[in-house]
């Protein structure tokens, strides 16, 4: 577990995190390896984990009815996949597929939620880390829906 704790704290998402909190979070962590084409999560399924990507690339996809999948984002080394564990009903809102061999740390969602409820310092530390990521994703989504490269995008 000490090795896992070191890996968790070395991930950019947890950069600068207090070692004590890192130890608590690492108690909910486990290693994953996803072969190309394997899914980290499917839309609608319980969001039981979120993932710190260590190596590889993950495509986030939505499948419109009757159409092929659309990749709307990729995450690679240093990124995180999944925020649905934070918000009820705790279900994936997209598919997450490994594009190439991907190594990740999975953080057990219920385990971490329970620890956040028990220790609001931990909960606040998690919120401070997730909110900038969510804001960045919101900005990026705004830029994408503006379709700035389309014929009338300017």
């Amino acid at each position: 577990m000490e090795g896992l704790e070191r890996i968790v704290l070395a991930h950019p998402f947890f950069a600068g995190l207090e070692a004590e909190l890192g130890e608590v979070i690492s108690g909910c962590a486990r290693n994953h390896r996803f072969e190309p084409g394997h899914y980290l999560g499917h839309e609608g399924e319980p969001a039981n984990e979120f993932f710190l990507i260590r190596h590889g690339k993950v495509a986030l996809e939505i499948t419109p009815p009757g159409q092929p999948e659309i990749v709307f984002a990729t995450e690679s080394e240093g990124g995180i996949v999944g925020a649905s564990w934070l918000i009820p009903p705790y279900r994936w809102r997209f598919d997450a597929r490994a594009v190439e061999l991907t190594r990740a740390i999975g953080i057990d969602a219920k385990c971490l939620r329970d620890k956040c409820e028990a220790d609001h310092n931990l909960g606040y530390a998690m919120m401070k880390r997730f909110l900038p990521v969510l804001m960045q994703q919101l900005d990026e989504t705004r830029l994408q829906i503006l379709d700035v490269y389309g014929k009338h995008g300017k």
């Binding site: 690339k57 495509a59 986030l60 996809e61 092929p68 999948e69 659309i70 990749v71 709307f72 984002a73 990729t74 690679s76 240093g78 597929r97 594009v99 190439e100 900005d139 990026e140 830029l143 994408q144 503006l146 379709d147 700035v148 490269y149 389309g150 014929k151 009338h152 995008g153 300017k154």
Partner: protein, 274 residues
């Protein structure tokens, strides 16, 4: 001296289709040599009987003989120009405007950030930097566009990447599952580019909203605002700072731009009335 209001006759040389609605045209002067230009400048291209439009130069400044312009069919004039075939005639005024700071950037890392067709006005600067590669530190090109089929100058980027002394990251806004590259907006690539922000000059070109997000992301990683340059676009008419159509705050884009330093415009960039 040539009257800047009088278009000079040019003949269309080679034409190359880049994308479904984007063409690159070589324009050869009917008489004499074409005037020199600097990376970042533009010409006013006149489709006879239809109208005139400002189009950035997209060719190598060191390659004489012709002007190269990459034109997207987005309106009556640009559409007429994009549909011209080899041998057709058109009028050219220029070159006009300010240049990318390829000279002052010597000794620094250089980061080019291009969105969509914005790669075309940056290409002359890329040619110039690569031609004198030893004068610069790291050279990074970050390119974003709508989807994989819309990647501009794809073969050229592949060739630059093979040089091994240029870091190129490409992303698209969305893709199907056959695409194995990055998906996401181009500012996202900045954090991954790994340049030294205190010794870097950034040159950014693309839709204005994309440039705003990009400049913001560049400053977030520590790049000073006076080392970021954007290529602005407004409705250029006279192209010599007289008519006022392209006024942008205290400046005219045609003569004080199109390449402008970010610290000079950051306060008015998001002002709707400007």
């Amino acid at each position: 001296m040539v009257d800047p209001f009088v278009p000079q006759p040019y003949r269309v040389g080679r034409v190359r289709r880049e994308l479904r609605d984007v063409m690159t045209l070589e324009l050869v002067p009917l008489a004499g040599e074409r005037p020199d230009f600097q990376p970042g400048q533009f010409n006013m291209l006149y489709a006879f009987g239809i109208g005139e439009v400002a189009i950035s130069l997209s060719g190598d400044p060191a390659a004489g003989g012709s002007y190269v312009h990459t034109v997207r069919d987005v309106g009556a004039v640009s559409g007429a120009i994009a549909r011209l075939e080899a041998g057709a005639m058109l009028g050219v005024r220029g070159p006009f405007g300010t240049a990318w700071p390829t000279g002052p950037a010597a000794g620094s890392d250089v980061v080019f950030v291009a969105g969509g067709l914005g790669l075309a006005p940056l290409r002359p600067a890329i040619y110039q930097v690569l031609a004198q590669r030893g004068r610069y530190g790291r050279v990074v090109l970050l390119y974003g566009t709508r989807n994989p089929p819309d990647i501009l100058f794809r073969h050229e980027m592949e060739r630059w990447r093979r040089r091994l002394d240029v870091d190129i990251l490409v992303t698209v806004d969305h893709a199907d599952t056959s695409w194995r590259g990055n998906v996401g907006v181009v500012p996202r690539l900045i954090a991954r580019a790994g340049f030294d922000p205190h010794h870097t000059v950034a040159m950014v070109c693309g839709p204005e909203v994309m440039m705003r997000f990009t400049a913001s992301a560049l400053t977030a990683v520590g790049l000073p605002t006076d080392r970021i340059y954007l290529s602005m676009e407004r409705n250029m008419k006279c192209a010599i700072g007289l008519c006022g159509h392209c006024q942008f705050g205290p400046d005219f884009i045609c003569k004080d731009g199109p390449v402008m330093r970010y610290d000079r415009i950051v306060d008015i960039l998001a002002v709707r009335e400007i």
